[in-house]
Amino acid sequence: MLRYFTGRLLAAIPTLLVLVTLAFVMMRAAPGGPFDSEHMLQPEIRANLERMYHLDEPLLAQYGRYLGNLVRGDLGPSYKYPDWTVNELIAAGLPVSLLLGGLAMLIALFAGFAAGAFAALRQNSAGDHAVMGVAMTGISVPTFVTAPLLILIFAVYAGILPAGGWNGGAWRNLVLPVAVLALPQIAYIARLTRGAMIEVLRSDYIRTARAKGLRTRAIVLRHALKPSLLPVVSYLGPAVAAVLTGSLVVEQIFGLPGIGRYFIQGALNRDYTLVMGVVVFYGAFVIAMNLVVDLLYAWLDPQVRYR
């Protein structure tokens, strides 16, 4: 197991390297530069800034310098926010994004699984149709529609929750963004669970269990639950990616200080180092989450474990 684990970790390095290289090339290929504005800089000031940030060196040298610093854990200075380093900005934004994403994933998992199981056990009943109808809506309505709608209802009209802002991570400020982020995932997980559980409930060993006279409750909890989780677990990797990209929108709409907002601002301002820093971080995170998913999968499915 340890060998498998280290093997996977080592395999992540070339993946990250490709990611860094692609991000580097794409950022530099984008027209414009970090110091462009209508208030054009005086040539000597511009030259000075470019020298300071080594932007006057050949691209390959800059790339090498970036990789060297990256290995040492230095993501460089931010061009747009000269008062901060990229490390500082990410360190400030990461807990926010992690808290948002983590809570949304947890809620999505529990609520989604519960709703899916509920629907599966009452297949084709009114309850099933109601749950799946809501789930379908949850999947098809985009975040940038649900967010303003929920803000309007709960903040502007009812006045019971804040319309935005972080406020140090107070729970009231978290409710709406986490809900918006979790909703489509709840819906997706509910549908996956329902499908998987219906299939499991139809399988031979469940029929055997029924024939033995076991109660439905025992059958579901002891025999059907674990295999129904499998597709949900394999969906976790893409779900993490979806929550990450969703958090870009959610952070923007609710004005939360997460790293998603730096990603957008960084890209718009050609803040090369900031964008690269966030990309490296996102990449490492998604790779790590995929690894966690594989481990979970091994735990749930003996066939994978003993292979």
């Binding site: 209508e38 934004g93 983590g102 502007v156 991570g169 601002q265 735990w299």
Partner: protein, 521 residues
Amino acid sequence: MTTLRAAAAALLVVALVAAGCTDRDGDAAPVSETTTLHRGNGLEPESLDPHRARGVETFSILRDLYEGLVAEAADGALIPGVAESWTVSDDGLVWTFALRDDARWSNGDPVTAHDFEWSLRRAVDPATGSGYAPMLAVIADIRVPDPLTLELTLTGPTPYLPGLLAQPIAFPVHRATVEAHEARFTRPENSVTNGAFRLVDWVSQSHLRVERNGHYWNDAATRLDAVVYHPVESEATELARYRAGELHLTRTFPAQQYEWLVRNLGDEVRTAPYLSTYFYGFNLTREPFAGNPELRAALSMAIDREVIANQVMGAGEIAAWSWVPPGVADYTPQVYEWADWPPEQRIAEAKRLYAAAGFSVDAPLRVELRYNTAEAHRRIAVAVASMWRDALGVETVLHNEEWGTFLANRQAQVLEVYRSGWVGDYNDANTFAEALLASHGLNDMGWHDARYEALVLGAGRETDLAARRAMLEQAERMMLADYPLIPLYFYVSKALVKPEVRGYEPNVMNVHPSRHLYLAQ
């Protein structure tokens, strides 16, 4: 083993999330809401170093943290700041500022002329990398006869110097702090400022809190205990937060909702003319506009500015028939001679010029109009394209681009007609005249006229103020007659202001220092 690891990983995630929840609940309750003003402030400030700052949002914060030799009143009028008074030599070249002796930094140090000398030199030092350094190019020499006297010698008489000195680029910074902390001197734990407020907390992209500076010379007049700036890029979010009662004052509001806002929020909607011009530039370095003033004139004359300002925009924007907006001090904007012609006559003349340029209904002009992606720009472009089509039969292709790409293409002069805008840095016609010099960053048209350059640069050296004004006005007329650009409308500043906020006065510079504001009980 496997089970254990997975469980440990899962636990770790839960623990992280839970830790995030609990240790952050403490600072949720603000101290005293009644004397804390919450301001929506657009983009996150890029830097709180007054010499490196670039955006108007940042300038708002810096006006609270710092005070220059000259300051701004609630209505934007220039008033003495750290300088109690000043005198100007007869030739207008030597300005002597008498500093007040009770001006203090937030750590109690006196603010001296040496602080200003060091700061002004730092602002223009290429090592500082300031985008606004050229604004200080009029200062040729700085002398400090004594700690409370600052003498500036200029390259030419500059009647707008007080306006320049009220800008963040001319603010003093605390030398010992800057030298000790370098780029980190703007952090709350290091920050030393000389304005009515001092920096207490700055969480990037979340909020920035300033509290009254007890050492400020006029602290007795400050009525707010604290101001919290909230960076909110999205206009819709800012509006929602304002309506939910989280903000007292917004930076702007969504223009498309102007009528709804006026109907529902009434007097809370505040707009005011703003010293800025929205225009379309022609690329004069390429066909079809190079050497073709008739065509450029025809396209300009075919656009009804009143429709653009009143119907397409409609939040009080003013139709632009000149380059310099109304409201600029000691200046009369020079309007096109055809500005007050009846529409039929204007269109007829446009048709004549269009034909003279060699175009007709059978051989129409095909042109690309490019703008940076934004709803308002799209609506204006659609309106302009339809006016060109109806009046002249021009076939316009609309093309929008993300800002960075758009700016790069504009500067590379590969476009045909493009959107642009200019906000005056200070209240003087020079800030508009200068922007069209060949060397200026805004002049992506590639327009160059030696007579224009001579007039504008000459005005900078002219000691007779009436003659100076005449030269700038002549320069504007000359520029308009060559049609390098199409002024479309003059912006308005837009804000939502809660009824309990007092002391807010709309003004052409759109400056609202917090020390003039207070909350009614």
